[in-house]
């Protein structure tokens, strides 16, 4: 190996190390920014090294330069614009889009490589063909699946599970065709057959995500993230670049861990989620059991009295809070309570929001200090000491029915809201949550319901507390 190649390879190793250390620094919020900067530095170094390779080889055509720079500027500009302007509530969509383009780019790299090799007399070697096919398959599935996921999150496609007669058959057929065409390609190089693989993989991605319900999105995004990482690692195999292999494996690991955490937090297996959401079949039957007991509703003034004279308040935000854009309103209420010396903290269920950790970002944006954001295992022992638990737009994750066997959510880890001394629930109606069952928390004698849109209700509540203490 020439000195030049040595240096380039060492730069790639350094870049990969920056990615690992960058992720390591994300283990506390205090060092996370430095981690991101380190990771960015690694990326810049890897890109610079690649430019050096291209210039050193000197075989690139003028058109090649133009294509590379134009594509880079266009894509980079679009990415910069999206990243600067995106609302924090829309983060899951943006992450999905980045998964889509990452997976798509990985597939394109393999496709280009395959077409080049197929044109030569010797044809591609078997091991190259296998990694190329894995890259194309995973990349194409990620691309189309992530676009559908982003469409669902943005509301362009119904968030409810979309099924139509034969959708399952099409999904299975696409998988079978992709597999059969891939086996054929390993034996006989053929560009038209590669197009069949690409088309079948794209169809599979679409029909895989369409039947998945909106509340399962945290799992789907994590899974597609893992897919993208794997596709990029495969691209590293194809072009023989270790930086891609390491980076892809890191992302694959990250996506895999998050997928498992999210599925565990819903007490559902990955297979169950992929087959289709709750509420498509047996949810109605479970709802018919219904709760006995009365629902007590409360006015803003009475709720304000409970809050203003509490010593410890735990706020339990759910997706309803984000949907109503009420994160600033809740932070304002918490601010008023804290000025009175009341201890306020936030109980965050792992699947509160539309992607892992989404609720934390929304509250951080509303200027809530991160030490107040407590994970489920950390906050659950504190509920018995709380004078008031204020539940805003969270439903299934607070339902004590999960502790009993035989319900649709049995075994799902929940926040022990019912252990608090009193409970106020802000909710628009008595409608059931995603699991399609009634929430037993709402008929608990300690619970009062404050009906209304989260943002309006919180604004009223804040005003009432201010009047009370003035």
């Amino acid at each position: 190996m020439s000195t030049f190649n040595w240096i380039i390879q060492l730069v790639y190793v350094a870049a990969a190390s920056c990615f690992v250390l960058g992720l390591h620094l994300m283990n506390t919020p205090a060092t996370a920014r430095r981690g991101n900067q380190l990771s960015t530095g690694g990326m810049v170094a890897a890109i610079a090294a690649t430019l050096a390779i291209i210039i050193h080889a000197g075989t690139i055509s003028a058109t090649g330069w133009i294509v590379m720079l134009a594509g880079g500027l266009l894509g980079g500009g679009a990415g910069l614009y999206a990243a600067r302007t995106v609302q924090m509530t829309a983060m899951p969509q943006l992450v999905s889009i980045f998964n889509a383009v990452g997976g798509g780019a990985a597939a394109l790299v393999a496709i280009h490589d395959y077409i080049n090799l197929a044109g030569r007399a010797a044809g591609p070697a078997e091991s190259i063909t296998i990694t190329t096919l894995l890259d194309v398959l995973i990349g194409a599935v990620t691309f189309s699946g992530s676009i559908i996921a982003a469409g669902k999150l943005q509301g362009l496609i119904s968030a409810a599970p979309v099924t139509f007669p034969g959708s399952r058959v099409i999904n299975m057929a696409a998988a079978a065709i992709a597999a059969a065409a891939s086996v054929y390609l390993i034996v006989t190089p053929s560009v038209p057959m590669l197009l069949v693989v690409i088309a079948a993989a794209l169809v599979f991605g679409v029909t895989m995500v369409l039947p998945i319900g909106g509340a399962d999105m945290p799992v789907v995004i994590s899974l597609l993230n893992a897919f993208t990482g794997t596709a990029v690692a495969m691209a590293g195999f194809v072009i023989g670049n270790w930086a891609l292999i390491i980076a892809g494996a890191l992302v694959g690991a990250s996506g895999g861990i998050l997928t498992k955490l999210m599925a565990d937090a819903m007490n559902r297996s990955l297979g169950n989620i992929m087959i289709g959401g709750f509420g498509t079949g047996d949810g109605g039957a479970a709802a018919a059991v219904g709760p006995g007991g009365d629902v007590r509703s409360i006015a803003a003034d009475d709720a304000a009295i409970q809050l203003a004279y509490a010593q410890k308040v735990i706020i339990v935000p759910g997706y309803g809070l984000a949907a109503a854009q009420a994160q600033h309103a809740v932070a304002e209420l918490a601010g008023v309570l804290e000025e009175r010396g009341i201890e306020v903290s936030y109980a965050i269920h792992p699947v509160a929001g539309r992607m892992p950790g989404h609720m934390n970002v929304l509250l951080a944006e509303a200027n809530v200090p991160y030490p107040l954001l407590k994970e489920m295992d950390e906050i659950n022992p504190e509920f018995p000491r709380a004078d008031v638990a204020l539940v805003i737009g969270a439903n299934d994750v607070t339902n004590p029915a999960a502790r009993r066997a035989g319900t649709a959510i049995s075994g799902m880890p929940i926040l022990d809201v019912d252990h608090a001394k009193s409970i106020i629930v802000i909710k628009r109606s008595m409608a059931s949550g995603y699991a399609g069952i009634d929430n037993e928390l709402y008929v608990n004698p300690k619970t009062s319901m404050f009906f209304g849109d989260a943002k309006t209700a919180l604004t009223e509540l804040t005003a009432a507390v201010k009047t009370l203490v003035a």
Binding site: G22, L23, P29, Q37, G79, H112, A235, A253, G357, L373
Partner: protein, 121 residues
């Protein structure tokens, strides 16, 4: 089976294990920025896109290279910028004088209230 493939597989498996080890220590509070950071890292595919632009020699090759470069650049630039933007919001203590809208709105509200009571008196 070539030695090169075996080396690649070894690196892949070891990196996967390192990934599991490092990422399982990230707290749930940071899971969204973590996923976004992982997103930016898979933007390394830009390296692949650049290399195919360098070897492309026909129209199809240029089209593939162009789209791949655009996708990958969007991934890498957008990923890092949005991750940075999110992480900047995580503060240990509330910002004393936030330039964000809610702070401004309440300050304006107080001024308006003061003026209002003044004129009524």
């Amino acid at each position: 089976m070539t030695t090169a493939l075996l080396t690649d597989i070894t690196i892949f498996v070891l990196a996967l294990l390192v990934g599991f080890e490092v990422i399982s220590k990230v707290p749930a509070t940071l899971h969204t920025p973590l996923m976004s950071a992982a997103n930016s890292i898979h933007g390394i595919i830009l390296v692949g896109a650049m290399l195919i632009a360098a070897t492309a020699n026909n129209a199809l090759g240029y089209v593939l290279a162009f789209v791949a470069a655009a996708f990958a650049a969007m991934n890498v630039v957008g990923g890092y910028v949005v991750t940075g933007r999110m992480l900047k919001m995580f503060r240990r203590r509330p910002a004393p004088a936030p330039a964000s809208e809610p702070g401004k709105a309440s300050a304006d509200g107080q001024t308006a209230a003061a003026n209002g009571s003044g004129s009524r008196a």
